[in-house]
Point group: C2
Chain length 306, copies 2
């Protein structure tokens, strides 16, 4: 199934307890696409500035990523600067320079319009809706969002969500969006806004799916040294959507498997700064960690008490 | 397998977003024993004051709980007062009155000394060690502890841990005990202190086992309305140890099952104040939630990428 992602391409400057990395490749669409590319081909829609190096685009192109939808416009590429303390679940934003993002008027290339799977990565919900309306007949539209839009563009976000099938969202943001501290209740409220299913990302604690076929929960794969959590959520989404595109069928069974693939991709991504771990990653390593993930979660049903 | 628990019996006064409960039955040994009693008979070692009502002991006795090791001494029963905000993972202690706990000199009744399974619930590590030395030849000694002892009696705790097989501990306290923010690393450091295995409790996010046969992680069973998280950890431990006592075999397979049973018992316990939900709970409901737990966590291994 053909897969399209719209989101950001960025230069990130990140400080974590393991070190500092300046102006590294980042952005929600980039993390997503790189993770998805291990499973399927993926088409990116994003914007960069004149300062974005050609060879970076070429590097993505070598990985089954279609970059023809990445617009280059006058100005500088989006930049984000943040740091993580000992609690690696939460970034502290130090600087955000939207730069060319402010001018981004996403238009899908014709070759993208037949996408069967669409991922609206974290970006202005108005842009998300605009892109969605350009895709002819998608089987699944999934989206991410963040506190910035929940607080600042709530009406627009709620409107966008009406046509989203699957929302992928952090636990704190799910609570904020629903105005509800109980996560099962928050998920139900969000599902009443439109999405058939909600996947709640809980950082080092894993992910949970609330959908029409019930609830599924998976822990995070334990990583001894989290070098840089940036992009973990987008890598999760990329692995998940990439897997769905690969198997070509969307149901409760494949969605659970897809979430495991997403968790595995996120676990690799955080093992080094930026996408450094992903460039070296092999398909064999992904397969192996999927098996390790099953060893991590598998158990036999306890005998009954009767 | 015979199961003994030493810990506290208390009166808890608790405030949560769902209400207030004054002087309700609580204590680590009580929560543990009530949960364990769904799986096996369990012998309690604890201390109460003159104010502790006889009929409360009788109520425990009707549930396959041996209360002959509960000493009644002059003074008042241990009391704890706390409150939970929207973040139900963390209690704020308002008052602690140790009362008779300060005089507690635990001596195992002869009938307890052949225990095959021993749980040292959260209590002074010096008392934990004293009890442990009185059990003849246990197959498994498990223990819990808390920040109070990690900070205040660290040397005594480390000494006690040398002879503990399985430590059951909150994630924040595991990090504190090990002086290490990475949980897999913290678990390894704790295992170097003595315990073959460490189970880390992560509240609403579930539990993780770090042991000689690898790592196992299970989510928490999703509960829509957490009325009162007090005793969740002890209910988990009671369900877990109770299951092990019931199956009579301790290995990686039964330990994983036992953790699921513990998670199920904890999920029931938090559905009402104090032990109110447990008094009404049936074995059929426990079996049913074990099956629901499997539906929550089950997935098929994703196909390989090869």
């Amino acid at each position: 199934m053909s897969l399209v992602v719209i989101g950001t391409v960025a230069f990130d400057s990140v400080k974590t307890p393991h070190g500092i990395r300046e102006e590294a490749l980042g952005g929600s669409a980039t993390y997503f696409a790189v993770a998805a590319s291990f499973f399927t081909s993926v088409r990116m829609l994003a914007v960069v500035g004149e300062d974005f190096p050609e060879d970076r685009l070429a590097e993505l192109g070598r990985r089954d990523i279609d970059t023809s939808g990445i617009l280059r416009i006058p100005g500088r590429t989006f930049r984000w600067k943040g740091e993580y303390g000992e609690d690696l679940n939460e970034a502290r934003t130090l600087e955000t320079h939207l730069n060319v993002l402010q001018e981004f008027d996403p238009v899908l290339p014709d070759s993208y319009r037949d996408a069967r799977l669409l991922f609206l990565a974290n970006i202005d919900p108005v842009l998300q809706a605009k892109v969605q309306s350009q895709v002819k007949a998608p089987d699944l539209v999934a989206a991410d969002t963040m506190n910035f839009w929940i607080e600042g563009k709530r009406d627009e976000l709620v409107s966008t969500l009406k046509d989203v099938d699957l929302l992928v969202i952090n636990d704190g943001e799910a609570r904020m969006l629903a105005g509800e501290s109980s996560l099962p209740k928050a998920a139900r409220k969000i599902r009443e806004m439109g999405p058939r299913s909600v996947i709640v990302k809980r950082g080092e604690y894993g992910v949970a799916l609330y959908g029409p076929d019930g609830t599924f929960a998976a822990p995070a794969f334990p990583v001894e040294d989290v070098f840089d959590p940036t992009g973990a959520g987008d890598s999760f989404a990329g692995g998940m959507m990439g897997y769905l595109a690969r198997v070509g069928e969307i149901n409760d069974t494949t969605l659970r498997q897809a979430m495991v693939c997403g968790s595995v991709m996120a676990s690799f991504n955080i093992e080094d700064f930026s996408m450094d771990r992903m460039w070296k990653l092999t398909r064999g390593e992904v397969d192996e960690r999927c098996r390790q993930f099953q060893a991590l979660t598998r158990y036999d049903l306890p005998g009954t008490l009767g």
